[in-house]
């Protein structure tokens, strides 16, 4: 009887877990279906040549999404240039170098940075970072791709730090002691042994951090100036740009449901979805490679 009861409750629990696991798949598929169903009509109504033209001014029927895609890429790449070195080095410091008390202060502080709402970050960007950049770099305006990239870097750093740090902590202690026993310095051990051993974990951390910056909306909308300029050279970093996320956020409130402009915004959302999907697939490819590595080590 009690064995039966146990079996029954176990069944319920299994079903519950199964349901939660499957529901996230179902939700993602439903979101994808909705985006595609709303966005695809664009392809039959706007010729591809117009779609990939360089002018975005939807209220007059200019639907070129190229400046928006490139705008998002510029900010994301800029943010990665800031966040990757800073995040990885912070993780190395916390995991390998910092004394115990510093570790205990630094870790919660980095996690606190992760909890900072992006609208607050954008506000600081408008009030402090943008005037500062305009004055020091003599830019026409401080609302630029660079401002957005620096702030987005701040958003990506905590993700990169905490996942990289976990990866470094998972490197067996014997690697370090073995290396030191060979008479190698501490710096050479970190750079030549520990970091390479944690490489896949660190790469996953970078991918997830970058994934966060592509989708970030509020901060970029507040500080990048939102001008749909076609990026043409390196100088674009110091000019205003408009990202895909900011476009969707600022225009979705206004469009009439079902209009071409409305479908267009969903089409941009599909493009954005594909970008994040690509980053996530890259991240999971890297972490699955890590699994094989550790299997190899065990054997």
């Amino acid at each position: 009887m009690s064995a039966n009861k146990l079996k029954f409750s176990e069944k319920i629990i299994t079903r519950g877990i199964q349901f939660s696991g499957l529901s996230s798949i179902v939700f993602v598929l439903m979101i994808l279906y909705f985006l595609v169903a709303q966005g695809l009509p664009v392809l039959s109504e706007v010729p591809l040549r117009d779609l990939f033209s360089t002018r975005w001014y939807p209220i007059e029927g200019y639907y070129g999404i190229l400046p928006l895609i490139l705008g998002s890429l510029v900010v994301t790449v800029g943010a990665s240039l800031v966040a990757v070195p800073m995040g990885v080095l912070t993780a190395i410091y916390i995991a390998e170098i910092a004394p115990g008390w510093a570790k205990e202060i630094l870790k919660p502080l980095v996690e606190l940075l992760a909890g900072l709402p992006s609208v607050v970050l954008g506000f600081l960007g408008i009030l402090i970072l943008s005037p500062f950049l305009r004055d020091t770099l003599h830019l026409p305006t401080g609302l630029t791709a660079l401002t957005g990239a620096l702030l987005l870097g701040m958003i990506a750093v905590p993700t990169i730090v905490s996942i990289s740090e976990d990866a470094l902590n998972n490197v067996p202690e014997t690697y370090r002691t073995g290396s030191l026993a060979l008479g190698v310095t501490r710096w050479q051990t970190i750079w030549g042994v520990t970091v390479p051993a944690a490489r896949s974990g660190i790469l996953t951390a970078i991918m997830l951090g970058v994934g966060r910056t592509i989708g970030e909306t509020m901060t970029v909308m507040m500080v990048t100036g939102n001008a749909p300029v076609m990026p043409d050279s390196f100088r674009v970093l110091f000019m205003p740009i408009r990202t895909m996320t900011a476009t969707i956020a600022s225009e979705m409130g206004e469009v009439a449901a079902g209009s071409l402009h409305y479908s267009m915004l969903f089409f941009i959302a599909v493009v954005l979805f594909l970008f994040t999907l690509a980053v996530n697939i890259a991240a999971s490819k890297i972490s699955s490679r890590q699994l094989k590595r550790s299997e190899r080590i065990l054997s």
Binding site: I126, P140, L143, A256
Partner: protein
Amino acid sequence: MVNLALYWAEEYQQEYPDARISVTGGGSGTGITAMISNTVDIANASRAIKPEEREQALVNGVEPVEHVVARDAIAVIVNPENPVRQLTLQQVSDIYAGKFENWKELGGDDRPIVRLSRETNSGTHVYFLESVIRLGNKDNKTLFSRNTLLLPSSEGIIAEVRDNPNAIGYDGLGYVTPDVRVVAISQGAANDYIMPSVKTVNENLYPIARDLYMYTNGEPQGLIAEYLNWIHSPAGQQIVEELGFVPVD
């Protein structure tokens, strides 16, 4: 015009504690879209409803009726450090169309021009495009210069103009704060340069002024009619003036 709508609603609810009015912002397009889908009683808009929007409303069984509730002047603003004090309408149009890139071409300092605008969902944006950049000419297809910064709020524009000596912006007279400089505008080089004010707008002297609307579904009835009457009353129009807009008649 969300500020104005909020003040009206607040004052009205203080005078008539039984009334419940909730106001949401987001731009004229937002209000009219909500009117079309019949989710609001009154849509505030700083531009007239477009013919295709009216058609769409009629399809949904909504018949938008227009009420002019106030007038608004759009002030062209620059940083107080900028020596440029007056511009013709044509010059403002050329600045925003991208024909001028440096303030010295307009008698100012040797500084790049940074153009600021509201986002495309703002009625002010559409009005500025049609009446200033295109100078009211329907066949004119000039657009905002590509590198015009589109900021999500009036406050964002005021803040950037206040801090940045390169910037030029435009905004409803009601939003302009004393720490930015309002530029005098003339219809043409031969005309007088006029500063925007209640007086110059009511005398039709200031060239960039427009009507502000409320739309109702059909002729207003009951509570909505009472509210609109109150808005047109001296008490309602007093608020218009306090906020820097221009009262109607």
